[in-house]
Amino acid sequence: MDHKTEILQGTLDLLILKTIALEPLHGWAIGQRIQQISKDVLQVQQGSLYPALHRLEHRGLVKSDWGPSENNRRAKFYSLTKAGRKQLETERATWERLSTAIAQILETA
């Protein structure tokens, strides 16, 4: 049980970092964006976004600013820090190695 969450969590971190790499987004928009881009394959449990975001912020990978949202309310926008950008690159590379390896095994074995 614990094990599974951890893997999911790691993946969620990667997805969040990638999603906000282009422009600052608030929490709800991040969830929407992941859902849209993955064509509804990935359903993010909305509540679990926030612990993940705060953890990333705590580690200094993400920073946040309050600003007006698209519906003109005060919302907290998350963006990547320099360290976060670096982290995104390493996690992305790790992920690609991993998925290639798994794909290879699945094809040949």
Partner: protein, 895 residues
């Protein structure tokens, strides 16, 4: 660097907690609102839209909880919870908390006090710039590693060395200061010009000495201590340029030395005046044979090791030995770190004491662990319920450790106060037992030490009860109805008592051995009778500085007469050179009829006493053969000497030394031995036997030649007086008589011979008193521990005892039942303690802290074992008596 950012953010979250909580709420609200809007625009009815938004988000409380975790506050929250709970639990049982805190405070304060001493004396660097570069310099001779340096040799060392940035020479001296109020004696140093420069100490006022001040024919100048400046000159800035009269000569004050410069390497008191070496004008300064008690100080260049510096000086010394074989053959150089020169002697004492005081704290911890174990009985239910509610084992241990660390911290805080007060009081009572005593204070390192030992002891005494409590099976606990797994706990408590009895025995054995050592030392015959003998120093009046030899001889006779005619004075002798346990002087000689040895180092050495005829009778040194000096042995009569039995048996084995001749180095006349006297323990009661230089040689002051008589007024002399009654009361009458003889006559440093002997044992007595105090504390704690456990067991067995009494058990049976546990624990503890002490007291012997008693002295061991057993049994007996009073009816009804 992510961890750093995490720590910083944790703190920030902690400080801005409320604001962060609000921000999180707003963020969550916004999210749900946004989802609601989307649901509405997708055409959902408002109620359903709201419900769907909430469902999609999940439990908002759980999200918040989990997010807070991300801030790194969770462990802090738990800790705060534990702490609050712990304080409440301690408050529930205040007497237990008080006993535990007090016990720990005693242990921690003793450790803190001792550590602050060790810190101030051994660990802290000397309060001088770059103190690690400072060393004392010595000329080492075959029989003495740390000898004085002849001035001319020093000048060569100074000019030829490559490893020192600076070096200087100093000579302790007593100046008589006249012309400003009462004449008084000032401690001072003759120093070479580079003295303060070597220490890198700058004057607070005026200037340092320059090389031109330390030249023959230079105007006499002096630097004074800040203390003297304030005391005698009111701290006025115009003190510069004023003159002060020292030994009848006018010196111009050029500088004031900072108050912080309080160096006591060559004087046991701080110096008040400093004057250039060449102003001393001692003829011996131009003689490579005369060391004159000149001690060197040096600052090693940065990056140069002690060994390199030593090798450098040894090279120069070897060259000097080749160039001046008469004076320097066989001598070389030695370098000792300054700190070691100052504190070397007390190091072993302090380390042993630090070990001993650690044992006291260990016993205190064991006691508190026992208390907590006993209490854990009443808390088994509490923890069973917590466990039933899902508390893990780690969580329980954590709670219990929080409580014990809390206790330890309270004990540490109280202990710090006790230590601060105790150290002040102790140092005030024993001011001379320690070097650098004025530097002992509570600094950051001591505070860290207190915090560390408090934390450590909290974990130490908390761990056993915590593990024990947490291990208890939930199921069993609830089944036993709260009485807990009592058998296991009894075993743990018994073990702890055994441990503390053993530790107490080790300390008692150490203290016992030190006590026996002191007792043995007091029994040692010093070779003279110290009772009713007063010793003091005497500086001649300035008017005699350039007097004729005949005038000096006349003045010496007047001194003798005047002192002898003082009521209460029985006999008087001036003393030059060595004096038992107080002053040291040696001389070289060879046997008459043999060729004069090539160099001084090939001659024979003897301790050299120059005294007057009354000396032998005064000190009550036994005359073994021949006669001692009389008034007829003067400058016109044949040259005679007296030797001690050590010299006699070493150089004239199986012969009668009376009538034999020896030749003293530097004197053309052969000296005839006229008497043999008993050996005097010059080097102290404890170490005289081990010293290589023990032969003793006496000369009569009156036989000294005219040259010596002109030097006498410039260097002063010692005086010994035998009094009819208590010598302390004779100080003022003597001072008065001498003042009558000459108003400018200065006398100083009155000490009774008993005091001198007692001071020679000061470091031992200091450590004996402390070790004894620690042992007493250990004994007290151990007996409290035994008492506590025994009374606890009696309480547990009240019912059993009641049944036994009801069934006809006699008082004796009940007593045996209760005492047997205590006796068993005590006996095992004492046995283990003896074994441990056998191992540990060897350290006392290794640091040569023992004298006349072996490290495993059976008498001491048996004595302390009996003492401990008796106290332990007494501690058991009190609860046992309570057991005797158990009323069977009450005991049975109680269930």
């Amino acid at each position: 660097m992510q961890w750093l950012s995490a720590i910083v953010n944790s703190f920030r979250s902690l400080l801005a907690r409320r604001r962060e909580e609000q921000a999180l709420s707003e963020e969550v609200e916004f999210h749900i609102q946004r989802q609601l809007e989307q649901n509405l625009s997708a055409g959902m009815p408002p109620d359903e839209a709201r419900y769907a938004a909430l469902r999609a988000f999940g439990s908002s409380a759980a999200v918040r909880e989990e997010t807070r975790d991300a801030w790194g506050l969770r462990s802090f929250d738990v800790w705060r919870q534990d702490l609050r709970y712990g304080i409440r639990m301690l408050g529930k049982n205040p007497s237990l908390a008080a006993i535990a805190i007090l016990t720990l405070a005693l242990g921690i304060s003793a450790n803190t006090a001792l550590f602050s001493i060790v810190n101030g004396v051994l660990l802290n660097p000397l309060p001088l710039p770059q103190p690690d570069q400072l060393v004392t310099l010595h000329e080492s001779k075959p029989n003495f590693q740390t000898g004085a340096i002849p001035y001319l040799n020093f000048l060569d060392w100074q000019s030829q060395n490559r490893t020192f940035s600076s070096m200087a020479l100093a000579k302790g001296f007593a100046f008589s200061f006249t012309g400003l109020g009462e004449p008084e004696q000032l401690r001072g140093l003759w120093v070479t010009a580079s003295f303060f420069g070597t220490f890198q100490v700058a004057p607070v006022l005026g200037r340092d000495f320059t090389p031109s001040d330390d030249q023959a024919g230079a105007a006499p100048v002096v630097m004074i201590s800040a203390g003297l400046w304030k005391r005698k000159f009111g701290g006025a800035r115009d003190v510069l340029g004023k003159t002060m009269t020292l030994d009848g000569r006018n010196f111009t004050i050029v500088g004031v030395v900072p108050e912080t410069f309080d160096l006591r390497v060559w004087n046991d008191q701080a110096s008040a005046v400093y004057a250039p070496m060449r102003q001393w004008g001692h003829p011996g300064l131009q003689n490579r044979l005369a060391a004159l008690g000149l001690h060197g100080i040096g600052r090693i260049k940065p990056g140069v090791t002690l060994e390199q510096a030593k090798a450098d000086l040894e090279r120069i010394a070897a060259n000097l030995a080749a160039a001046y074989p008469d004076a320097n053959r066989g001598t070389t150089a030695n370098v000792v770190p300054l700190k070691q020169s100052i504190v070397g002697d007390v190091r072993p004492f302090l380390l042993v004491l630090l070990g001993a005081v650690g044992l006291v704290l260990l016993i205190a911890c064991v006691n508190v662990a026992n208390l907590l174990l006993a209490r854990s009985t009443s808390r088994t239910r509490e923890f069973a319920i917590r466990a039933a509610l899902g508390a893990g084992r780690r969580r329980v241990i954590r709670q219990l450790l929080t409580e014990s660390v809390l206790l330890a911290m309270a004990g540490g805080a109280l202990g710090l106060l006790l230590a601060w007060w105790g150290t002040q009081a102790g140092l005030a009572a024993l001011p001379t037992a320690l070097p650098r005593a004025s530097e002992i204070r509570l600094d950051g390192r001591v505070l860290i030490f207190v915090a560390a030992i408090s934390l450590l002891s909290g974990i130490l005494f908390g761990l056993a009860p915590a593990l024990k409590t947490s291990r208890a099976q939930l199921h069993d606990l609830l089944k036993e109805g709260g009485r807990g797994s009592s058998a296991a706990r009894h075993r743990a408590q018994g073990t702890l008592v055994v441990v503390e009895v053993a530790l107490a025995l080790v300390l008692l054995a150490g203290a016992g051995l030190m006590l026996r050592t002191l007792a043995q030392l007091w029994k040692v015959d010093p070779g003279f009778d110290s009772r009713n003998v007063l010793a003091f120093g005497l500086s001649f009046p300035p008017s005699l500085m350039k007097a004729s030899p005949a005038a000096v001889r006349g003045y010496v006779r007047d001194l003798d007469e005047k002192m002898k005619s003082t009521p209460g004075v029985q006999s008087v002798s001036l003393s030059w050179g060595a004096f038992p346990m107080l002053a040291e002087d040696d001389w070289t000689f060879w046997l008459d009829g043999q060729p004069k040895p090539q160099s001084e180092s090939e001659m024979d050495w003897a301790l050299h006493y120059v005294v007057e005829p009354d000396y032998l009778r005064l000190m009550r040194i036994p005359l073994e053969r021949g006669r001692f000096f009389t008034n007829q042995d003067d400058e016109r009569s044949p040259y005679v000497v007296v030797v001690d039995d050590v010299l006699a048996s070493k150089f004239f084995p199986n012969q009668d030394p009376i009538g034999r001749r020896i030749r003293l180095n530097g004197d053309d006349r052969p000296a005839v031995i006229i008497g043999v006297v008993g050996h005097v323990k010059q080097w102290g009661l404890d170490s005289d036997d081990q010293n290589t230089l023990r032969a003793q040689l006496y000369e009569s002051l009156r036989q000294h030649d005219d040259g010596a008589m002109t030097i006498l007024p410039t260097v002063g002399a010692g005086v010994a007086v035998r009094t009819a009654g208590g010598p302390g009361g004779m100080i003022d009458p003597l001072r008065h008589s001498l003042h009558q003889l000459n108003a400018e006559q200065v006398v100083y440093n009155f000490e009774t011979m008993d005091q001198i002997i007692s001071e020679s044992l000061a470091a031992r007595r200091f450590s004996m008193i402390l070790l004894g105090a620690f042992a007493a504390l250990a004994l007290l704690l151990a007996s409290v521990g035994i008492y506590g456990v025994t009374s606890y067991l009696v309480g547990q067995r009240t019912q059993e005892i009641g049944i036994r009494v009801a069934l006809g058990a006699q008082r004796r049976d009940v007593l045996r039942l209760v005492l047997s546990d205590g006796v068993r624990m005590t006996l095992i503890g004492v046995t283990m303690g003896i074994l441990a002490a056998f191992g540990l007291t060897r350290f006392l012997a290794r640091y040569s802290l023992l004298f006349g008693v072996s490290a495993t002295d059976p008498l001491t061991f048996a004595g302390v074992a009996l003492l401990l057993a008796a106290v332990a049994l007494a501690a058991c007996y009190i609860p046992a008596r309570r057991a005797l009073r158990v009323d069977p009816i009450v005991a049975l009804r109680y269930e």
